[in-house]
């Protein structure tokens, strides 16, 4: 009986106590505040990491824009340099053409005077032959030699510019990307690609594959090999770095052009009319041959022509598409180690998870790979033209094997700059 009362009394006390606990609201606000603090802290950290991701994305885009712009700028500079040399070449050729034409005419005049001096009452012609030869005809060979000397000096310089331009554009584009904070492009590219593939696999229902370690291995191999090469931006198509300027026959209608017969006539007449006045000395001194221009040493590849009709460097570069990026980095506080925040653990997303709270891998701020296209605009490099080439950022084009961005490029993306 007593035991029964005792038990009943204990039950009553316990129930009363439970009722007290249930009705007691003390501490509830602290509990609520604690939860709010926890959530707000999480939001703060996530917001901070999100901002860092956005920052990385903008930095990558700025870096690749700077690289693409720099490459186009250097192409434009070299195009302008070529155009200025072409204009100089054009001027020299024009002057030489006029001078050689005048000299040929003087040789013909000397020949006429040479005949005329034997005509009665025209003995005065003999007195004119020496000055006509010395001043007019004799310079024919030196003028042509000087023109070729200039040509032989100019063309290798222009070829050197063509050769060096891609490397300079590449170098300065990399400097711009590097100076703007881009990371090694191989590292950022391999990380971006492996992260994208890995996330894509995890999106496949039922795949339940965790290939992050495999991709990490691949990424580390790339990082330890290609990642050692100091390249921070690179064009998708390396050939797009070429200046696109090359020697070309001066087609069209050059304003001053001497057909091959003219130098032959001038030289032949000069040898007859002005030989005794030094023409042959000048001719042998400069090793002149009216019909031998194409066989002169050092000039074969450029095929120099007598008078005006030389070869010129002409053309223009195409568009370039550049990539640069930043590598991934760990988020602050290691929150990514929490399983429920780790997207790489698919089990936590699809079923009740009973494992540890922290999982393998970490939620990193992803690597970003940005893309930008640029192009030189202005007058193409021609025989004589405006020196107005400039580099511009343009819509992004994915190379498809054609150099015509206006017709068959299927994937244009707009870049705002």
């Amino acid at each position: 009986m007593n035991e029964t009362k005792l038990v009943s009394s204990d039950k009553f006390k316990l129930a009363a106590k439970m009722e007290t606990v249930r009705s007691d609201e003390r501490g509830s606000l602290t509990l609520l505040a604690g939860m709010m603090v926890f959530l707000a802290t999480m939001f703060a950290v996530i917001a901070f990491d999100t901002n860092r991701a956005i920052y990385d994305r903008i930095l990558a885009q700025n870096a690749v824009d700077a690289a693409a712009d720099s490459a186009a700028l250097w192409q434009a500079r070299f195009c302008n340099l070529e155009q200025q040399l072409n204009n100089l070449h054009y001027t020299v050729d024009t002057v030489a053409c006029v001078a050689e034409g005048v000299a040929t005419a003087a040789c013909l005049a000397a020949a006429v005077l040479d005949v005329l001096q034997f005509v009665p009452f025209c003995e005065w012609a003999a007195a004119l032959i020496p000055p006509v030869c010395f001043v007019g005809c004799d310079p024919l060979c030196p003028e042509d030699a000087a023109q070729h000397l200039f040509y032989d000096a100019l063309m290798p310089v222009q070829q050197a510019i063509v050769d060096i331009a891609p490397f300079m554009a590449f170098g300065y584009a990399n400097a711009a990307a590097y100076g703007s904070g881009a990371n090694n492009v191989f590292d950022s590219a391999s990380q971006t690609i492996t992260e994208t593939i890995n996330d894509g696999i995890n999106l496949i229902p039922g795949a339940n594959l965790n290939l992050s370690s495999t991709f990490s291995s691949i990424d580390s191999v790339i990082g330890s090999t290609l990642g050692q090469i100091p390249i921070y931006a690179m064009p998708l198509d390396p050939t797009s770095l070429e200046l696109g300027v090359h020697t070309n026959e001066n087609n069209g209608s050059p304003p001053l052009y001497w057909p091959p017969e003219v130098p032959a006539i001038g030289d032949g007449v000069g040898m007859v009319a002005c030989a005794e006045y030094g023409y042959d000395d000048f001719q042998s001194g400069v090793d002149y041959s009216a019909d031998g221009d194409e066989n002169r040493d050092g000039s074969d590849q450029y095929k120099p022509q007598w008078g005006w009709n030389d070869l010129y460097y002409k053309g223009n570069p195409g568009y370039m598409t550049w990539v640069a990026g930043v590598t991934n980095r760990n988020e602050i506080l290691g929150l990514g180690n929490l399983v429920w925040l780790n997207s790489q653990t698919s089990a936590a997303q699809s079923q009740m998870y009973t494992g540890p709270a922290t999982g393998g891998g970490s939620l990193t701020i992803p690597a970003f790979l940005a893309i930008a296209s640029s192009q030189v605009e202005g007058t193409p490099v021609i025989c004589q033209g405006n020196v107005d080439a400039q580099g511009y950022l343009i819509k992004v084009y994915i190379p498809t094997g054609t150099n015509n961005p206006g017709s068959s490029i299927p994937f244009p993306f707009t870049i705002y700059h």
């Binding site: 003390r26 501490g27 509830s28 606000l29 602290t30 609520l32 505040a33 604690g34 709010m36 603090v37 707000a40 802290t41 939001f43 703060a44 950290v45 917001a47 901070f48 999100t50 901002n51 860092r52 956005i54 920052y55 903008i58 930095l59 700025n62 824009d65 700077a66 712009d69 720099s70 700028l73 250097w74 434009a76 500079r77 302008n80 340099l81 200025q84 300079m168 170098g171 300065y172 990399n174 400097a175 711009a176 590097y178 100076g179 703007s180 904070g181 100091p230 921070y232 020196v387 107005d388 080439a389 400039q390 580099g391």
Partner: protein
């Protein structure tokens, strides 16, 4: 009735005490959240401002950087806290050697005045600037126990490098000086 009064008497101040502690914690966390967003946003804006500053100088013959006040107007919520300066740009040799020029190095005026570029702009947004310490516009109030010196931790720095777009060597003189300048820059950074 007496018992009830007694219970009330026992809990008096409980809610107030919990509210003081809880709300203080929440306020602190709220400030932490705001500062996180503030810091992150300013970092992003400073990067955008750095690009603009470098681009502006590169497209204006290297004459001058945009003023800090114009950057404030375009990019930042608060005025008077940003500064912009030229720093030594990375050259080809620096890329090869993996050597970033020191950000504290002032870009030489001889090269800096050349339109050839490149130009590297560094934008700093620093709430600890002496003339603009607490109270400033973010919250217009000072967080308790937070000295002004703590503000230095919310300073953000960004930089961007841009080549001299306005100098395309369109004249013989510009081309000559540009070639010499780029040779000096490239070779100088290598050796």
């Amino acid at each position: 009735m007496k018992i009830i009064l007694s219970r009330h008497s026992g809990n008096s101040g409980q809610f107030m005490a919990e509210a003081c502690i809880g709300l203080a914690l929440m306020a602190f966390t709220w400030i932490l959240l705001v500062y996180s967003l503030f810091l992150g946003t300013n970092q992003i804006r400073s990067e955008m401002a750095a690009r603009y500053a470098a681009w502006y100088q590169a497209n204006n013959s290297g004459a001058a950087l945009p003023s800090a006040s114009s950057l404030d107007q375009y990019f930042f919520y608060q005025t008077g806290l940003s500064s912009v300066a030229n720093i030594t740009p990375a050259a080809i040799g620096d890329v090869i050697e993996g050597n970033m020029p020191s950000s504290s190095t002032t870009y030489g005026s001889a090269d800096g005045s050349a339109a050839n570029g490149p130009f590297k702009a560094q934008v700093t947004f620093d709430p600890s600037v002496a003339a603009n310490q607490f109270p400033y516009n973010l919250l217009n109030t000072q967080v308790p126990f937070m000295p002004n010196s703590m503000l230095q931790y919310s300073k953000v720095v960004s930089f961007c490098q841009w080549d001299g777009d306005s100098d395309c060597w369109t004249s013989p003189g510009a081309a000559f000086s540009g070639v010499i300048s780029s040779l000096k820059s490239s070779l100088g950074s290598l050796f």
